[in-house]
Every structure is written in C-alpha cells, then in structure tokens.
C-alpha cells in the first residue's frame, strides 16, 4: 500500500496537549512539513509566546526559547541579530501578538527584522479559558464579553495582517485559514513563502492563521470549522497583503 499521508519527521511522535479539534496542531504540522522539505530543521530556532503554543518544544525537535507573553518578536530580534545565519521563527497567539505584544510585533516588523512570525488567530485567549481578545468578533460571547463584544465599549476586531502590511519593513504578510483541506494546502504554501523570505533576507514575514478554539467557543470541532468559514472569513479576508518581490528596500 502507498502511504499518502504521514507524520512529518519533524513533528515528534507524541500526544499533544491541544484539545481535540484545535487547529494549533495543523499549524504545527504545516511548519514541520515545510522545515523538513526545506531541510532547515537543524538550523531553525523556535520562539513560542505564552498561550496554548507554549509547549512547542514538546512537538518540534529543534532548539526553543520560551519568551515572555507578547515578547517573542523582541526575543527573535535579539536572537536573529546574534545569529543571522539561523532560521528564527516566533509563534504567537492573538492575545500574545494583538494585545499584550502589539508594541514588540509592530517594531520588529517595522525594523524589517529578518524573522518569521506565525500567528494563530482563534479570536480568544485560549490558554486562560477563552476570554475576549482584540480579535474577538463583534457580538461574540466570551467569558469576559458575556453579552457579546460591543464595538462601542470594546472596539472592533483588530486586523493584524493588514496592519503589518502597511509597514515598510514587512516583506510578507498574509492571512490563511485552517478549516478545509484546500485552505490547509494554501496555508502550507504561505508557511513556505514566509520562510523563503527569511532565507532570502527580504525582511519580516508573517502568516496569520485563522484558527478554531472549539473548547472555548463552546461548539463541536466540526461546528467550529463552520464558524471559522462563515463568521471569521467575512470579517478577516484571506489573502496576501504584502509580498516583496525584490530587494527594493536596499
């Protein structure tokens, strides 16, 4: 029999702590597959933020630095400047990047730090129990927006991929989704493109993954995929918002 699908060697053969249905695992697998295909595993260093991604080291056989909540882009900056020949990626949730860490992400991007950031937008603070994040959709109920997010008091969901695309230092900013095989394949291409940007020293690259958090959304895994498709994508359009083609910044 032909194997058509198997675990990439760079994803450890172990149980995960992710809830069943969570798409963090898919993002992990895509990154592992691309690291394998690009043969850069042994020169890659990962920097997870604080959130459900914090156990990155349990799943990737790579060097890992655990950053404080929201500060992974600053840690990645220090590390990449110290080791420009290594591949450095940060992996952040939406609380991590779009709330507590906005300053660090904006300035790392604006300086054009030659690092890659993977951004999991699941509209909530997953690890702490599903509180409202800056990315929470209007009307969405969470434990800290029990009456639904109201733009008059909580503002509008923040669009990181679009916002970062406005910065000169950014080489690549894209939003992908993880709810269907077709979209997962597209997401993988984005992961590869982002890492290629880094290898080619084009500047800062960021992939925003629209993701599910069925546990905190209080829906089944399958329903969560539908919520992503029907409620997230209309507000958070998929696409490439910035893609540098040459070293025009020089």
């Amino acid at each position: 029999m032909n194997a058509v699908f198997k675990r990439p060697p760079t994803l450890k053969d172990t149980y995960t702590h992710f809830c069943p249905g969570c798409t963090h695992g898919i993002a992990h697998r895509l990154i592992a597959e691309v690291l394998d295909e690009m043969q850069i595993v042994d020169k890659t260093i990962g920097i997870p933020g604080v959130g459900c991604c914090v156990f990155l080291y349990n799943y990737f056989p790579i060097d890992v630095l655990e950053a404080p909540h929201g500060r992974a882009p600053a840690c990645a900056t220090g590390m990449k400047r110290a080791q420009p020949d290594k591949i450095i990626f940060a992996y952040q949730g939406d609380g991590d990047m779009a709330a507590i860490g906005t300053s660090e992400i904006i300035h790392a991007a604006n300086r054009g730090e030659n690092v890659t950031v993977f951004f999991i937008n699941n509209t909530v603070y997953g690890m702490t129990g599903g509180q409202m994040a800056p990315t929470t959709l209007l009307g969405q109920q969470t434990t800290t927006s029990p009456y639904g997010r109201n733009f008059q008091t909580e503002g509008y969901p923040i669009k990181m991929a679009e916002m970062l695309a406005t910065l000169e230092g950014v080489a690549y900013s894209t939003r992908v989704a993880l709810h269907s095989p077709k979209h997962v394949n597209q997401a993988k291409k984005a992961v590869r493109k982002a890492l290629e940007m880094q290898i080619n020293e084009m500047g800062f690259s960021m992939v925003e993954f629209l993701s599910t958090c069925n546990t905190n959304w209080r829906v089944s895994p399958l329903e969560a995929l539908k919520v992503l498709e029907n409620e997230m994508i209309p507000y958070y359009p998929l696409g490439v918002f910035k893609e540098r083609t040459g070293k025009d910044f020089l």
């Binding site: 056989p61 890992v64 630095l65 500060r71 840690c75 900056t77 220090g78 400047r81 110290a82 300035h107």
Partner: protein, 353 residues
C-alpha cells in the same frame, strides 16, 4: 598604566565592550543616556549590534534573545525603565540566562527626578520581578569601578547563568575621574554549551521557565537556591577601611561611601576611632565581614541615599547585640561629610540607638 579623565557612564560602556559585549539594546532615559550614545557609536566599529529599542520591555527581551544565542548582551536604564524590565529579568533568572542590566538610579517613586539616589536597592537586591530569584548586584563607587565591575558583571553572569545588575547612583554615572581603561586581568569567557544555536549534530536544547509538572517548579527553585548559596559563599566583596581598631563602623555603598570616607578622616583627626565597610557586591551581601566587625565595634552607622533599605540587610547580617543607627537622604538629597560626621559623633555619645 595610562589613565583617562572620563565619565562613569562612559567607563561602564567601554567596560562592556572590553568584556566582549557586542549586543546592546536600550531606550533613552536620563541619567544614563551616555551609555547608549557611546555604544551606538562604538559597537558598529567592532562588529557589534546596537538597537534603539521601542521600550525597556523590548530591550530586556532582545537581551534575552541574544543571550540565549550564547552572546554577551546588555541593556541599561533608570527608574521607570528598570521597573518595566522586571518581568524580563525574572524570566532571565528563571531560564538561567546571563545578562547585564545597568541601573543608573534616579529618584522616585513615579517619574521622580533625575538626581542621584539609592532608592532602588530593594528592587535590585530583593527581587523586583516576580518569583523566588536573585540578581547578582554590583555597586560601583568610582569611575574605575564602573569599568572594572562591568567586566566582572559579565563574568559572573556567565559563570552562574544569572542576570547581573550594576546598581550605581546618578552621581557615579555622571561625574568624571581618571580611569584605567584596560582590564587588570584577562577577561574570562566561560563555555556556553547550553546556548541555542540550532540542533545540528546534537540534541535539541531548550531555555524556559515554565514548570507545570508535579514538584518541577519546587525542584527548580531549590536548584536556583543552591546556586544563590554558592554565589553567597564565593563572590561577596567589600572594601574595609580603618576597621582594625574601630569602635564605630560606617556601612555605605556608592556615593555615600565616598562621603563617609571624608567624614571618617575628619573624625579620626578628632580622635574618634571609626572605620568604613563598603559593600561592593549587594547580592551576595558581605554578611560574614559585617558579622565579624559588628561583634567588635560598639556602634554601626548605615548611610544611604534613601529612607533606609540596605540597613535592614545590615540588621540581619550583624551580631544580634549590635547597635545600629541610620542616616539617609532620599529623593536626590546628599549626605554631606559634616552631616555624617555629626551622626558619627552622635553614635559615639551613645544616645542614638
């Protein structure tokens, strides 16, 4: 050896370069701006990296990234900036990452003022950030020590895989003195097999501070405690002057120790037997020396530029029967030699307890 008339902050910055520090990240704040300004100029000339970071939070985390890569990295700030760094310093301690953090103290609380003070003693020595950890803390009292102790800070930070802080008041940072700008002995560079350089030909490595498993955090804390005990055993430093026959011991660090020296000279002329113990390391605190002297002298006078912070550690270290008095000027006020002399006389008369 050649000496140069130079500002304390510049001596410190040059010390960092000579200690092999090639990564500096910082955000401007008075009274330490000479440090980033000097390094912005000098680091590129020796292949180093200077980043004018967006905040002190970013600075300390950039330090963390460079340090995790096995490089010597530093940041400097004052007052509010050091407060912003505390989370990062706690992570460095928890992840056992070396780093040098410079605090050229200005007064507080709040935005405070830019005059010299020692109001951050407790923050530096007794934590500052969250969790059960310690910084190595060095307290220069001269421009020469700004240079020498910065090199030592890098060596100790690397040796013990621990953040090391230079705690100097704005006076030491800002004034000029002749300084020898070369190390007295070759700079030590401990191996860093733990650094994250990509898992090529070896097992993946991890630098973290999260411990969720049963007893994991407690075991980690106990290991850290063991390290701190070792640092306490081995690395405590102090200067002792005129203590052999002393009946009164003045204890002071940084600028007040210099003022105390003048006052002690005057007191000696008046026939008062008084000496000085100047802690050079604040953690490890020179507990043994303080204990030994405290059981010999009749009185101890602690002088600080705050409302009384180190004095509590002196009380803990000193003999239980020691009579300890305190003289402090907070918020940018200076203890003058005459004031200290008056305190010494008061102590001598025995009506101060």
């Amino acid at each position: 050896m050649d000496k140069k008339l130079i500002k304390g902050n510049i001596a410190l910055a040059e010390g960092a370069i000579q200690a092999g520090c090639r990564f500096y990240f910082g955000y401007p704040i008075t009274p330490q701006n000479d440090i980033p300004e000097y390094l912005a100029k000098q680091l590129p000339k020796c292949g180093g990296t200077f980043i004018p970071a967006e905040s002190e939070i970013a600075s300390i985390n950039m330090v963390m990234g460079a340090s995790a890569s096995g490089k010597r990295a530093m940041t400097s700030s004052s007052g509010p900036g050091i407060s912003l760094m505390q989370e990062g310093i706690s992570y460095l301690a928890g992840s056992e990452l070396p780093a040098v953090i410079v605090n050229i103290m200005r007064c507080g609380p709040g935005l405070g003022g830019i005059a010299p003070t020692q109001g951050d003693y407790n923050q530096a020595v007794h934590g500052g950030g969250h969790g059960d950890y310690k910084n190595i803390v060095l307290a220069p009292a001269s421009v020469q020590e700004m240079f020498d102790l910065t090199i030592k800070a890098f060596e100790l930070a690397d040796k013990y895989r621990n953040p090391a802080m230079i705690l100097a008041d704005a006076m030491i940072g800002q004034f000029q003195e002749p300084c020898r700008l070369s190390p007295l002995k070759p700079v030590e560079y401990p191996e860093k097999p733990w650094s994250l350089t990509g898992a090529k030909g070896r097992k993946p490595q991890l630098l973290k501070s999260l411990y969720l498993g049963d007893n994991e955090q407690e075991e980690h804390n106990l290991l850290l405690k063991k390290k701190y005990d070792e640092i306490q055993q081995r690395e405590a430093l102090c200067e002792m002057q005129n203590l052999d026959d002393a009946e009164i011991m003045v204890i002071a660090f940084g600028t007040p120790s210099r003022v105390a020296k003048t006052a002690i000279r005057q007191a000696r002329k008046l026939g008062v037997k008084v000496g000085l113990l100047r802690p050079i390391t604040l953690f490890p605190f020179p507990e043994k020396e303080i204990y030994e002297c405290s059981s010999r002298v009749k009185k101890i006078l602690v002088v600080e530029m705050n409302t009384g912070q180190m004095v509590r550690d002196v009380r803990i270290a000193a003999h239980k029967d020691a009579a300890i008095s305190f003289y402090g000027r907070p918020g940018g006020g200076f203890p003058y030699p005459d004031d200290v002399l008056a305190e010494i006389k008061k102590a001598m008369e025995g009506n101060e307890r």
